[in-house]
Symmetry: C2
Subunit: 187 residues, 2 copies
């Protein structure tokens, strides 16, 4: 095996495609976001990395809240559109049906199989991006996305992003059971 150095602008090899919901000037706004991870076990916290050029950055700071919505594959066109146009120039408030949980500043998307409303917990200011830490207030789905009371990824049918080739992918075949298949390992 011969390793080659491919530089510094590298990405997580698969990224979850989400729509970040914020309120800007009292209207819902949605931005395509793939730089997101669970960040803390207890309480449940998420981290979302938003470039400060985006209007969503202002929306989160203004309302101390945001939502993370997971679109399904059949929403791919609208989802990608939200990454192409800026809330500075285009009103994105009527692309989706919007609903709210507890937080007025965290509009969520009715068409998305899973939505999470977050209260701003902390901000880590990085050179170009703000890393917003949000505490989960609640998560929402519909019964049709559950199997045995658990979210079923095949029913949700979410999108995965790869960069810098800029492709969307579906979730594929089951590969194994986590915290289980490793028990077969013999060192």
């Amino acid at each position: 095996m011969s390793k080659i150095n491919i530089g510094q602008n590298i990405f997580t090899q698969t990224m979850p495609v989400t729509l970040l919901g914020t309120k800007i000037n009292d209207k819902p706004n949605f931005m395509t976001l793939a730089w997101v991870t669970r960040a803390n076990a207890n309480p449940p916290l998420f981290a979302v990395a938003v470039n400060r050029v985006h209007k969503s950055d202002y929306g989160i700071r203004e309302n101390n809240s945001f939502s993370i919505n997971f679109p399904s594959e059949d929403m791919i066109t609208q989802t990608d559109y939200c990454g192409l146009v800026s809330g500075r120039n285009i009103d994105k408030s009527d692309i989706f049906k919007v609903f709210y949980g507890e937080l007025e500043g965290a509009p969520m998307i009715m068409e998305c199989p899973v939505s999470i409303e977050c209260r701003l917990f902390d901000i880590l200011e990085l050179p170009t991006n703000d890393l917003f830490i949000g505490e989960v207030v609640a998560a929402y789905t519909e019964r049709k996305y559950l199997t045995d009371d658990n979210l079923d990824i095949k029913k949700i049918n979410p999108l995965i992003l790869t960069m810098p080739d800029n492709n969307y992918w579906k979730v594929g075949e089951h590969a194994g059971n986590a915290w289980e298949i490793g028990k077969n390992f013999k060192d």
Copy 2:
């Protein structure tokens, strides 16, 4: 559509499966990690969320560096094993062939299609987890994983994790081109 509240312990709907490389007492250690995201555009920074109960937390603080390695599906058993056993009790230094780039404290895995070495940039201490921010020093692959000089996700064949059902998945069918398919959207 009728939304139901499914509580607070929610996860990113798909998570990239990685192996976090650290050095502990001068030996390489690897921990399965799926709470990771790119965090900053320029310079390239990653955020990894590590529960403070893990030995890897100590390893990063000790050496101010870590690596992020993306295993392929054929490494699923060893990868899952690294999430089942702790570096506190088990020496995980000989599971993989190890190589180094510039940083002595960031052991990388030869068998992984993609590895990233990171210098510690900042730490955000959250209630149970440390969110380590790492600056990319370099990323490594092999020519066989490239198509037209770009990383090819189908050749890399990485693993995706879903929680709390705890399943590993493969990347599936191509769904569309990002920053492109949305141009077809008519509001």
